[in-house]
C-alpha cells in the first residue's frame, strides 16, 4: 500500500495494501517525439489488498505510441515511421496488465520498517510494439517478476527493485507473408528514494503531505529479433539508411533514467504525483525526453 514517502510514483515499494482496501490510479505520460509531435499514454489501474501480504492490480493502457498492425510494407515502415512526414499514430487501447505482489519479509519497529516482497506481472498487448525494449505497461505482451527491498526510516524511504521482463513475440499474418517481432528481454534494477518535506509533524488527517521522490530506472535489454516468414530479418541496413533512431531502438541497450517528482497527498486518501523523466546514462527509446508524468490515485477504505 503504499506509504507516504514510499509511495513511489514509478516503482512499487515492498509494502502491500491493507486487506480489503481498493485503490484506483490513473497514470499519464506525455512527451514530444523527435518530430515535435505530442505523444500520450494513459493507464487506469485498479488495486486491491487480498490479504495483508498480497496485493493485486489490473490495468488497461491506451496511447498514441503504436499502430494496431504493422503495415504490410515492413521495410518502408521501419525506415520511415520516425520521420516527420510519416502519418501520426492513432490513439489506441494498448493492452491489459496484471500485477501481484506478495510481502515475504516484514521487520517493523517504531516509525521504521524493512520489507521484502516478490512480484510477478503479465501483459497482453493489443498493438504492434516495434521497439527493442520490452515494456509491460502495456506496450507488449510478456511476463516478468522480481524482488523489492524497501527501507522506511521516519520521513525517509529507500527502495530497490530487481526484476526481469520476458517478452512474448508479436506475430502478424499478412496476405503474403508473416512478420514476427520479438522485443528484447529486460533486466532492470531500479533505485528509489522518497522524503516527506511537509508536514514535519501531523496535526490531522487533513494535513496535505508533500513528498519528494528521486528514482533511478536502470534497464538492460537484448536486441529485437525480427523474422520475415520465419527467416531472421537483418535490420543493420537502418544504420546507414537515415533511420539511425529506429536502429538504436532495435539493438541491445542499457540506460539509466532519472525520474524526479513531487507528490501531494490530500485528506490522507488521495494523491497527486507530478514528475519529469530525464536521461542520465544512455537513454530509453520507448519515449523521448523530457517526459512529464502525472498520476492521480485514490484509496477507498471500507
Amino acid at each position: 500500500m503504499l506509504f507516504s514517502q514510499e509511495l513511489f510514483p514509478t516503482t512499487e515499494s515492498a509494502s502491500t495494501m491493507p486487506k480489503g482496501v481498493y485503490g484506483f490510479r490513473q497514470i499519464n505520460e506525455m512527451y514530444k517525439d523527435i518530430n515535435g509531435r505530442g505523444r500520450y499514454y494513459t493507464g487506469f489501474r485498479i488495486m486491491y489488498g487480498i490479504s495483508k501480504r498480497l496485493t493485486v492490480m489490473g490495468m488497461i493502457g491506451a496511447s498514441n505510441h503504436h499502430l494496431k498492425r504493422i503495415p504490410s510494407d515492413f521495410t518502408n515502415y521501419i525506415l520511415n515511421h520516425h520521420k516527420v512526414n510519416y502519418p501520426s499514430f492513432p490513439f489506441l487501447t494498448e493492452g491489459i496488465h496484471g500485477y501481484a505482489k506478495y510481502r515475504i519479509i516484514t521487520i517493523d519497529s517504531e516509525q521504521k520498517h524493512f520489507r521484502i516482497a516478490v512480484y510477478s506481472e503479465l501483459t497482453k498487448s493489443f498493438v504492434a510494439h516495434t521497439e527493442g525494449e520490452s515494456n509491460l505497461m502495456t506496450d507488449n505482451s510478456g511476463y516478468g517478476g522480481g524482488l523489492i527491498f524497501t527501507k522506511l526510516y521516519k520521513r525517509f524511504a529507500a527502495s530497490f527493485t530487481g526484476g526481469f521482463i520476458k517478452s512474448l513475440p508479436y506475430e502478424q499474418q499478412n496476405e503474403y507473408n508473416k512478420i514476427t517481432f520479438k522485443s528484447g528481454d529486460v533486466f532492470m534494477y531500479n533505485v528509489s528514494f522518497g522524503y516527506r518535506i511537509y508536514p514535519r509533524s501531523y496535526n490531522s488527517y487533513k494535513d496535505v503531505n508533500i513528498n519528494l521522490y528521486t528514482e533511478f530506472i536502470n534497464r538492460q535489454y537484448s536486441a529485437a529479433k525480427i523474422y520475415y516468414d520465419g527467416v531472421p530479418y537483418d535490420y543493420s541496413f537502418l544504420q546507414k539508411s537515415g533511420a539511425l533512431y529506429t536502429y538504436n531502438g532495435f539493438v541491445a541497450n542499457h540506460y539509466t533514467e532519472l525520474r524526479t517528482s513531487v507528490q501531494f497527498i490530500f485528506n490522507s486518501t488521495s494523491r497527486l504525483d507530478i514528475g519529469i523523466a530525464l536521461p542520465v546514462i544512455g537513454r530509453s527509446y520507448l519515449h523521448d525526453y523530457p517526459m512529464i508524468f502525472i498520476t492521480v490515485q485514490k484509496y477507498i477504505f471500507n
Partner: protein
Amino acid sequence: MSRFFYVVVLLFFTQFKANAQFVSVEVGIDGFTCSMCAMSVEKAILQLSFVSEVKMNLNEGTAVIFLRENKKVSIHEIANKVYNSGFSVRYIYANYNFPEISLKDFAIFSIGEDEFHFIKVEETIIKGLATVIFLNKRLLSKKEYASWAEWIKKDIQKNGKKENVYYVTLLRGQ
C-alpha cells in the same frame, strides 16, 4: 416504594458500570510514519463491532480505542486489524475497571470466557481502574515477546495450556 425502585436501578447500573470490562485500549503500531497508513489502521479498527471511537496519534503511531458497553472485546481482533492493514503491533495496553482482586504471579482473573493470567506482578490488591499490558504473541513486538516467553512458559507449567488466555502484567508505576 418508587424511591426504593430508583435506588435499586441506580445501584444496578453503578454495579454494571463497575463490572464493565474494558474502558479503553491503547495500541502502539510499528512500521508506519504516514497519515494515509494511520487512516487505513483506524478505518480497519472501526469495523469492529465493539469499537465506538478511535483517536489516532499520527506522529507516534498510537491509537486509543474507545469501546462500546455490553460488547465482548477481543484484543486479538484488534491486533488482527493492525496486521491486516500491513503493520505490526508494538504494544497493547487496556484500561480495565477491576473489582477487588488479589494479585500475585500466575494469578488468574476470569472475564466471561477469557482468562487473564497475571505475570511478573508483586503481591498486591487492586480495585478499580488499572492498566494491563498484553504479553501474548502478536499482541506486542517480537522483541518484547521474546523477553516474556520464559514467563509465559512458567505460567503454562503452573496453570496448564488453555484457550482464551490473555497473559498480562500491570503497567509499571501502578
